[in-house]
Symmetry: C2
């Protein structure tokens, strides 16, 4: 990990210190995904079968996972894992239910009622990656808010494994969250299938979930097409920033940095601290712990792009963090809650020594589908609201129109929109005619 | 307006009947906008001055509107218009405040607290078009939620007029909503300036507001660039769908259809009704009222793409509406509220004879920046939430980690993420060592 002295840097140096590994939408990737999307639109299920054979090496008889496959998957799982999936689901449900949007009704003037009602997005498509390892936790993170939002048609795509099956735990997690329509599809072809529909895969209004560069590029492409589908957010590699002071336990901090670094060689981890001693200790501890990991090589690659940043004090640490806008922000300081007020941009925050990022990744209750790559400056993580539309409703009585109609007519006249004005004045005249 | 019998159509005919005028991101438009964006990124303020001279025919001394210009604009406005702007702002504020997201705090397990906190997006850019006529109402619709969200830096761009000034009412509306940084910039160059920043225009994290095809294309381009800015939503031409029954007043319905049609030749208006007689009456009335409008030609062009749709009953009318997913949905039936439950996809809904769309456009309290072009299937209109990030926070005590740590460790093991697992087990071991 590279050591950086924040106060020894000029503006350009600071920008470089917080730069993320470049993410170019390379022409090759763009063209490759465009070809796949076009193929799926043109040839539907036939294309899906061919692409799955080409990329996953599997000849699929049926694309959809059948009831007996769900049952067999469940039977193969340990009781411990099934219990963990159900417990995690319960806690995630509790938090997501509590933070779901609520209906609103306000009288803004006598006789004028304005409301906000909530409507589920009808058909949603969830993508659960299984590139490195399958991610049942992502099935929970997407399935729970979709269910609370009341989405009627929920579709889930996840890559098929070498044995022709989908991962047992992903299927069980899907079932526990109420998702029964699962397709053995991965990559750009899965995104294309959900965005445009085929004979077998229903066309979805919005797509959710993380994925590799192909999946991400496909999501961007279908989101840019009015005939395509909306997406949850743009995505990049995972990342964590830790703010820690002298009192932090270097072993804990190192473990948290590594749990991000093992995600992939392009993951980025930063430690920001006013304590030279801590930076030193954590640097050593990271190396020590890393060697024991099964994914030690991946972690080493990620650590190559990572930073130990020395700052003047915790206020400056907050400045650095807000500027970076990390997906995950861990605070291990003497009084972590004292820093919360100053946190402006982050996907999810973890306070104190006993809150490793793993808790949020799996089972504290918050969502782990979060904005990466600096998008935390303007995007939020997935929540129930991501699966709903907020529709405004207004109803004026004759009295209400009398009250606010003249205001609307004046503004319409200022905007030279005469038909807008007349839609009001014609009604006011009709009222007078009745009276 | 074209008459359509919904039940006489097959599936393809129904799709065609609800098709919107094609919206292609023509290569010419794309390339033209790309060139402007690149020029603004490269040459900054110099490019802005040149482009403004080329497209608006104005040589700008300073890009930013000065204090004395605000004061002069206010002095030129009528008392009536200023009062209307303030009254509308008050009501919009009331509704937006009531429907703003709230902080949440939940204990999801003993010793595990999960919260949602709200943070304003730091720098936001508002675009207020003035192509046909200037739109002070849009300045209100964007300025009010930005202020309630607590955005610290708010920038507004609006095209310069032939007299070298910005519209007086737009400036006054900006000031009333607390926006003091206004730039005399329009078109793709305004979007580029706010997305990337110049010496004069600050770089913004998210851009809001409607605009013509150039503005919309520029917004899509900067949203697709990680170095660019997020946007509120994709946009298309404005549209309304009216559901009316035998009892509706044909004059009111016609006036509402026309107030949408006058927006532009590509606006689309639909009337859906089970009553042949009403469809007939409204058709006649539209033609009669249209002739009296200053923008009669624009309305005639829009009506050419519009439809009178006959359906079996009001349930079928709802089906048609949900399938179309209109930006504005007006319900003028015997019991309009009875239909609300069945409305799935719409930007904003107007119930009953005394609620013309103009009320929502200007001053009922709801927002008029709404999803068009079928995006109401998956997007919501602008609200306070659009200007905020929802950040999740978790804090576990040692007891909390004991409770849910094993669940996280089990799931991490299932996902073969060993460092995730160890970040938990190492802490649990440390606890045991202390005890």
């Amino acid at each position: 990990m590279k050591r950086i002295d924040w106060n020894g840097l000029d503006e350009a140096g600071r920008a470089a210190a917080l730069a993320r590994p470049a993410q170019s939408r390379a022409t090759e990737l763009r063209d490759g995904v465009e070809a796949i999307v076009a193929d799926v639109r043109r040839r539907g299920d036939g294309a899906l079968r061919e692409l799955t054979q080409r990329y996953d090496g599997i000849i699929l008889d049926t694309l959809q996972v059948g009831d007996e496959e769900f049952a067999a998957a469940e039977a193969r799982l340990t009781c411990e894992l099934k219990t963990a999936i159900r417990d995690a689901t319960d806690r995630i449900e509790r938090f997501h239910r509590a933070s779901a949007p609520v209906a609103v009704s306000v009288e803004t003037a006598p006789g004028v009622r304005v409301e906000r009602v909530l409507r589920p997005i009808r058909r949603v498509g969830l993508y659960v990656p299984a590139g490195g390892a399958p991610l049942p936790s992502t099935a929970i993170m997407l399935g729970v808010p979709a269910a609370i939002a009341g989405c009627r048609d929920v579709v889930l795509c996840t890559p098929v494994q070498a044995d022709g099956r989908c991962d047992d735990a992903v299927l069980y997690a899907a079932k526990v969250t109420g998702v029964h329509r699962v397709f053995k599809l991965g990559g750009a072809q899965a995104i294309a299938a959900m965005a445009y529909g085929t004979d077998t895969v229903p066309r979805c209004d919005k797509l959710f979930g993380p994925g590799n560069a192909w999946v991400t590029e496909a999501k961007l492409q279908v989101a840019g097409d009015p005939a395509g589908a909306a997406i949850d957010m743009p995505a990049g590699p995972s990342e964590v920033l830790v703010i820690a002071d002298e009192e932090a336990d270097a072993r804990f901090v190192a473990a948290d940095l590594l749990s991000q670094a093992e995600h992939g060689p392009d993951s980025q981890v930063l430690l920001v601290s006013p304590s030279h001693a801590l930076l030193e200790r954590v640097g050593d501890e990271v190396e020590r712990q890393r060697r024991a990991l099964p994914r030690a090589d991946i972690a080493a690659a990620a650590l190559g792009e990572s930073r130990l940043v020395h700052v003047r004090d915790l206020d400056q640490a907050l400045d650095v963090s807000n500027r970076y806008a990390p997906e995950h922000l861990i605070v291990q300081t003497h009084d972590p809650r004292a820093l919360l007020e100053g946190i402006e941009s982050a996907g999810s925050v973890f306070l104190g020594p006993w809150t490793p990022e793993s808790l949020g990744d799996y089972c504290s209750g918050s969502n782990h589908v979060l904005p990466t790559y600096g998008y935390a400056r303007s995007y939020s993580g997935v929540s129930v609201a991501s699966f709903q539309k907020q529709v405004t409703v207004q109803e004026a009585s004759a009295e209400g129109l009398r009250h606010i109609g003249p205001c609307a007519a004046t503004l319409a006249a200022a905007e030279q929109l005469d038909a807008h004005r007349r839609a009001v004045t014609l009604r006011l005249a009709a009222m007078d005619a009745i009276a």
